[in-house]
Amino acid sequence: MTIQNDTGAVQTGGKRAVPIIKPGAMQQVLAFASLVILVLVFSFSSPNFFQFTNIVGILLSTAVIGVLALGSTFVIITGGIDLSVGTVMTLSAIMTGVFITYWDLPVPLGIVGGIMTGAVCGLLSGTIISKMKIPPFIATLAMMMIAKGLALVISGAKPIYFKEETGYSKLALDSAIGKLIPGFDIPNGVLIFFGAAIIGGIILSKTIVGRYNFALGSNEEATRLSGINVNYWKIVIYTITGTFTGLAGVLMASRLNSAHPSLGSGYELEAIAAVVLGGTSLSGGKGTIVGTVIGALIMSVLTNGLRILSVPQEWQTVVVGIVIVLAVYADILRRRKK
């Protein structure tokens, strides 16, 4: 059977030109361009901005929110949302503190325990969403409160400090690479962030999990009718998000060398903002890890640059809010034109 090229009316201007950039990648290119522009603007405005230590500082401050955003990317691509990542991160940090400081477990075990805490919370959220059919917004809102409360209960509402001899803070702040290449002192936390991004990218684009992730977000009913166990994969995806969240908690605790039960609320919204800035659609089906990394970097470059220019913190938040509106609006305009 032959079907003539019958897109018909749409194709009046002769053959469609082959785009130089893959259409789906356009958003990432734009996001990356805006990141570069931001960096340039700040570099020209202040000599203090484009300094090695400042850039490293930006990267380090991106690490926690970045890992959180990586995890969020997965659920957001399913068309869901995870509001609990902020406080689950806190709970994971607290549990890491409990394992290492209170139970005197070896640091590696403590780290695994912290990450597992996040994974279990994700597993629970996923199960509630897929088995009890509670919408993700509500289910993860509940998980957010549960995790927040548990973090306070377990810690007795007091920060847990790590003993100096455990060397726990080295996890995020030491520079393994700096020992190999002197002068190139990029902290481990940054490397862990990029490592996590690579793993996340592989999961999303090279594995069956990623494929079903997009399928779910694109058309859940069609995915179900294709004989795919939608409930199972949703649980898997929320667990992945939880795992990244746990890692973020471990990183945060290491960076501060302590776990604070009240830190972390509100981080979920920053993570979501980073994901959205990176071009992932909140309605599901579209998104990339690279985009999220760029989105997270834009957020911290913006905050850092504004701080260097001595913009008061309150105003920094206002600017970030405006930038989010502009970025998403630009994307909508671009899509509409097509």
Binding site: I3, V10, T207, A215, S218, A222, G227
Partner: protein, 498 residues
């Protein structure tokens, strides 16, 4: 030699409050195209969902190749080689053609890593076998509906299915695309696949099916060989009564003043220099293939899409619709082809749907809703349009397609719209309700309403229109009067490419 593939006997299925299937039976042979006919709500889809494991039967017996058929879920049926192509396309638009076809069966290594190259080889082989010309790497979202349908068919056949159930496969296809689909169906039939063909289009029965099973109100009515019966006999089996044939509408004088004038409407890549007039009391048919730009014209007039240049004049007044609100204020109502998504608010009741476009009339200055007035208006509409609903508090989702269409008409009548644009007014509506809608259109026109009717069903265009405008590739390629319009002429104009 045909063998019995599927045998269903005494199937019962109960839903809360409804007996959906009562003692139903169905038989499918290998190498036959078996039509399953019945009005909406007759139970065709339910019966097929029982067969494919979407629903579990309450009673009855099913066999496949003579052995008992147990299908706990949709996947089980698929694995056994019983595939269904649902009425609503079931594709993930953000995945590519290849990814959609092999979803759930991706070749992988180590249990999780995708092997994209092997996936491509498989898809290429499949397309060669089916003689399909599709780009496996294209995102499904970028394909026109007809091609998406092909993707669905390719997906179903990739399971090496012996049974293929097609639920209204031609609903969204143009005539040439239907011809192409039929070529594929015949190929499958000769290779021994048993095909269940669900459709509302009578003209397709004779062309493609071998036997017809008719259902009514959840009951089995009978099975006949297609060549032994006339369409009218099948229709009377379906509705249980003889159906009246709508006569052509009374000739339109054409002398009446134009109520809507469109001139030089352009939208880059979509519409090119579209100009036409609609007179008072006229039914103006818009014919053309899918993708010819008919819906786009309607949406531009209605303010749902922007256009680059052109003029729209309504009753002598220029209209620059920036949003549907502007068009509605000028008295234009648009009835989408997709009623459930764009026509009614299916979760709300009849009265709120009737009032939906005219809430200003039904609220006092503070915003308080005047329920009594809404009820009166809704009662009036239900009586006038003969809507079959137990009461005006019934949620619209429980009404049949034809009655939902009437509710949408009622919504615009309540709003005092006198230009009504119908996009595929009888899509998915069963035969009985169709002629009621036709009668209603004639009555509306006779009472001075002006109607644009976009339709892909040529008999419908010919039967209903005072005048026919034909489009192809975004341009108007011709205009035919009632006397001039024939199927051949319309098809000629509809394929008049530049």
């Amino acid at each position: 030699m045909s063998e019995v593939l599927i045998q269903m006997e005494g199937i019962d299925k109960q839903f809360p409050g409804v007996q959906a299937l009562k003692d139903c039976r169905f038989e499918l042979l290998s190498g036959e195209v078996h039509a399953l006919m019945g009005e909406n709500g007759a139970g065709k889809s339910t019966l097929m969902k029982v067969l494919t494991g979407v629903y579990q039967r309450d009673a009855g017996m099913m066999t496949f190749h003579g052995d008992e058929l147990i299908v706990p879920n949709a996947k089980a049926a698929q694995d056994k080689g019983i595939a269904i192509i649902h009425q609503e396309l079931n594709l993930a638009p953000d995945l590519t053609v290849a990814q959609n076809i092999f979803i759930g069966r991706e070749p992988k290594s180590l249990g999780i890593f995708l092997k994209e190259k092997e996936l491509h080889r498989k898809v290429k082989r499949l397309f060669e076998r089916l003689h399909l010309d599709l780009d496996p790497n294209e995102l499904v979202a970028n394909l026109p509906v007809a091609k998406q349908q092909l993707v669905e068919i390719a997906k179903a056949l990739s399971y090496d299915s012996e049974v293929l159930i097609m639920d209204e496969p031609t609903a969204a296809l143009s005539d040439t695309e239907i011809d192409e689909l039929f070529v594929i169906i015949r190929q499958l039939r000769s290779s021994g696949v048993g095909i269940v063909y669900i459709s509302h289009r009578m003209d397709e029965l004779k062309r493609i099916t071998d036997r017809v099973t008719v259902m009514r109100d959840g009951c089995y009515i009978g099975t006949v060989a297609t060549k032994d019966v006339t369409n009218d006999q099948i229709i009377s089996m379906m509705v249980g009564r003889e159906i009246y044939d709508t006569s052509k509408p009374a000739r339109h004088t054409g002398a009446a003043e134009p109520v809507l004038e469109v001139s030089g409407l352009n939208r880059k890549g979509v519409l090119k220099d579209v100009s036409f007039r609609l007179h008072k009391g006229e039914i103006l048919g818009f014919a053309g293939l899918i993708g010819a730009g008919r819906t786009e014209v309607a949406r531009a007039i209605f303010g749902a899409d922007m256009f680059d240049s052109g003029e729209i004049t309504v009753k002598g007044r220029k209209l620059k619709p920036r949003q549907p609100h502007d068009a509605v204020k000028a008295g234009i109502g648009y009835l989408s082809e997709d009623r459930k998504r764009f026509g009614c608010i299916v979760d709300m009741d009849v009265k709120m749907n009737v009032a939906a476009a005219s809430m200003g009339r039904f609220t006092n200055p503070v915003g308080w809703v005047r329920r009594k007035r809404i009820a009166e208006a809704a009662d009036g509409i239900v009586k006038m349009l003969k809507v079959k609903t137990p009461h005006i508090d019934q949620e619209v989702k429980f009404l049949s397609g034809g009655n939902q269409q009437k509710i949408v008409i009622g919504k615009w009548l309540t709003r005092d719209c006198d230009i009504l644009i119908f996009d595929e007014p009888t899509r998915g509506i069963d035969v009985g309700a169709k002629s009621e809608i036709y009668k209603l259109l004639n009555e509306l026109a006779a009472s001075g309403k002006s109607i644009i009717m976009i339709s892909s069903e040529l008999p419908e265009v010919l039967r209903m229109s005072h005048r026919v405008v034909v489009m192809c590739e975004g341009r108007i390629t011709g205009e035919l009067s009632q006397e001039e319009a024939t199927q051949e002429r319309i098809m000629h104009l509809a394929t008049l490419r530049v």
